[in-house]
């Protein structure tokens, strides 16, 4: 028999209570995996989308937000001729409801701009010109909206025709309704307004040169902010809000887990007062008794973490398959997140076990001589 056997037996003493506590931690950890995994996935989806379009720098309004406030399209004319800029493309992007879908990315792109070039036709054709009242749908968007080539699509008050279904190389692209910028500006009544400029740098531009380029852009157009793709995502208020909300909710769930484990371990110590006193009477050091309780709670956390990670991973798959979210994000269930979740679970276990362990170490071994 090893010390680990002693610890396991302690947990096995009350299987139902151990199981319920484990379920409590699991739910907390599942919340971490699901919420953080989705927020990271959301961010990653946009990042991949920008990369797929070949964008190196995003120029946007100084305020953050996932779809920042519009600004005048003429900004592009001031920056387009800077050295190391290979191409620019004006965009107006909105996340809005389209027909039956509550959340859909509506992407108006400057006709002829490079942001069109990554789109690969699966069926149909591209709009013939910027004036044609037509849109192409990313393949996931087409599935969600149940549209095929030739179907009408209602964008706000305007009915357009779906002329093509495209593959964009990224989840965000595939989940978008894409149309000519001027058409979208006309529909929403904001002529000459854009909310982003995609900037492609000349091949071979280093990270340092890219950073220098952002500074130059800002000098020429102080009313906007130029950011590299990674900076753009990390500064976006929308992403920060999503991150904060996902961690905030997760922390609440973890706190519930902490209270659950602490309650269980305190009950364990109270129930096993006599047993602990016998251990002290037969020569166990207080430190060993404390270790026993701490290992029990850490093990509860570990098992809860494993179950929670599995629950979270399954839950997030189910969630992202729901029509409301499908196409908007691919959850990021990276090994680092799963590992971090288990580390959090073990830490929860250890933290929750500290007070009960301390209580157990204060017991007097003389209680063992009392009949019990």
């Amino acid at each position: 028999m090893t010390f680990f056997t002693v610890v396991l037996r302690g947990l096995w003493r009350r299987p139902l209570r151990t199981g319920l506590t484990l379920a409590g931690i699991s739910i907390g950890i599942a919340a971490v995996v699901a919420l953080v995994g989705m927020s990271r996935g959301f961010e990653k989806g946009w990042q991949v989308g920008l990369k797929a379009r070949g964008t190196d720098i995003v120029v946007r309004n100084k305020t953050g937000g996932l779809t920042p406030k519009p600004f005048d399209a003429s900004v592009r004319d001031r920056i387009a001729n800077l050295p190391r800029i290979a191409a620019t493309c004006n965009l107006l992007v909105q996340v809005t409801s389209v027909e039956d879908s509550d959340l859909m990315i509506l992407s108006g792109r400057e006709w002829g701009g490079f942001s069109w070039s990554n789109l690969e036709l699966i069926s149909g054709r591209m709009p013939s010109d910027a004036t044609e009242e037509a849109a192409v749908l990313g393949q996931t968007a087409a599935e969600i909206l149940r549209k095929k080539v030739g179907d009408p699509i209602q964008i706000e008050t305007k009915e357009l025709k779906v002329v093509g279904i495209v593959k964009g190389g990224a989840l965000v692209e595939d989940g978008s309704v894409i149309l000519a910028l001027s058409l979208l500006q006309g529909i929403i009544g904001s002529p000459n307004q854009i909310n982003a400029i995609d900037v492609r740098a000349t091949p071979g531009t280093t990270e340092q040169q890219l950073a220098e380029l952002t500074r130059q852009i800002q000098q020429l157009a102080p009313e906007v902010r130029a950011l590299t793709v990674a900076e753009h995502l990390s500064h976006a208020e929308g992403f920060q809000l999503i991150k904060a909300m996902s961690w905030g909710t997760s922390l609440l769930a973890i706190l519930v887990g902490v209270l659950g484990v602490m309650n269980t371990m305190l009950m364990t110590v109270f129930e096993r007062t006599h047993e602990i006193c016998v251990l002290l009477a037969v020569g166990w050091r207080r430190g060993r008794v404390m270790r026993m309780i701490l290992y029990e709670s850490a093990l509860l956390g570990f098992f809860g973490g494993i179950v929670g990670v599995a629950l979270g991973a399954v839950g997030v798959k189910v969630l992202t398959a729901t029509p409301a979210i499908r196409g908007l994000l691919q959850p990021d269930l990276s090994p680092s997140l799963l590992g971090l979740s288990i580390v959090i679970a073990v830490a929860v276990g250890i933290m929750s076990g500290l007070y009960p362990a301390w209580r157990s170490s204060r017991l007097m071994p003389s209680l063992a001589l009392q009949n019990g």
């Binding site: 090893t2 096995w12 037969v282 020569g283 071994p365 009949n371």
Partner: protein, 231 residues
């Protein structure tokens, strides 16, 4: 910590041992003096509440006296630098209610005290088998306490008390929860082990027939030793 003695320290020596509770309102021990030699079998007897078990707790370092000295081989028990080590290595406890851990088998219960001494897993297992064989339970190794009779449980407890080879056995009414047949066999086992292995045994009992089996009887009343002599 050490009292000088011309012939070297006694095995156990108590002087003016006092234990009070409730800020002195309850005086469980009132200046107990005695000395025990190595290898002796001593019975402590007396009516309920006379302080027998309190004295046993002090001998086993489960509690601290309010005043007085208690020396084990010349070292103060209450001020022992490592009380847990004293309990683990020098003392073996046998309780009236056995106090076996219910989620561990007989062999595992015997191994519990061995965690505090440097023994490998296989050494612990072998030692538990050896001790359970010694008390006649080699066929009950994997039985949980709930599957053992009262007599068998007390035998497991005796085996557990011997786990780390203590020099002092402290037994608190070891036959108190047993029927007469089991009580007799457990007592015989204790006496045999004490005699064969030359261990010092202090046995608390209020049964005069059990006390008469000891080599010496300390009779207590109202927290004091009222007589100390042969049966």
């Amino acid at each position: 910590m050490t009292l000088p003695s011309a012939s070297g320290p006694s095995f156990l020596e108590a002087k003016g041992l006092t234990r009070e509770f409730d800020e002195g309102h309850v005086r469980a021990l009132r200046g107990v003096d005695f000395s025990i030699n190595e290898g002796e079998f001593i019975a402590i007897t007396g009516p309920s509440g006379c302080g027998k078990s309190t004295l046993l707790q002090l001998l086993g370092s489960l509690d601290r006296p309010t005043s007085g000295t208690l020396l084990y081989r010349g070292i103060s028990v209450p001020d022992h630098p490592d009380p847990a080590a004293y309990r683990a290595r020098e003392v073996g406890f046998i309780f009236q209610a056995f106090h076996l851990l219910p989620t561990f088998t007989a062999a595992e219960n015997v191994q519990i005290p061995m965690f505090e001494i440097d023994r490998s897993v296989s050494e612990r297992r072998e030692r538990a088998f050896e001790l359970l064989k010694l008390v006649g339970l080699e066929k009950r190794l994997d039985h949980f306490p709930s599957k053992l009779s009262g007599g068998e449980r007390q035998r497991v407890a005796i085996a557990r008390s011997l786990a780390n080879g203590p020099s002092l056995l402290l037994a608190d009414e070891p036959t108190g929860n047993l029927d007469s047949e089991n009580a007799h066999s457990v007592l015989e086992l204790l006496i045999r082990l004490q005699q064969e292995q030359g261990r010092t045994m202090v046995l608390v009992t209020h049964d005069p027939t059990i006390a008469d089996r000891a080599g010496r009887i300390l009779r207590m009343k109202d927290g004091q030793v009222v007589s100390d002599g042969k049966p």
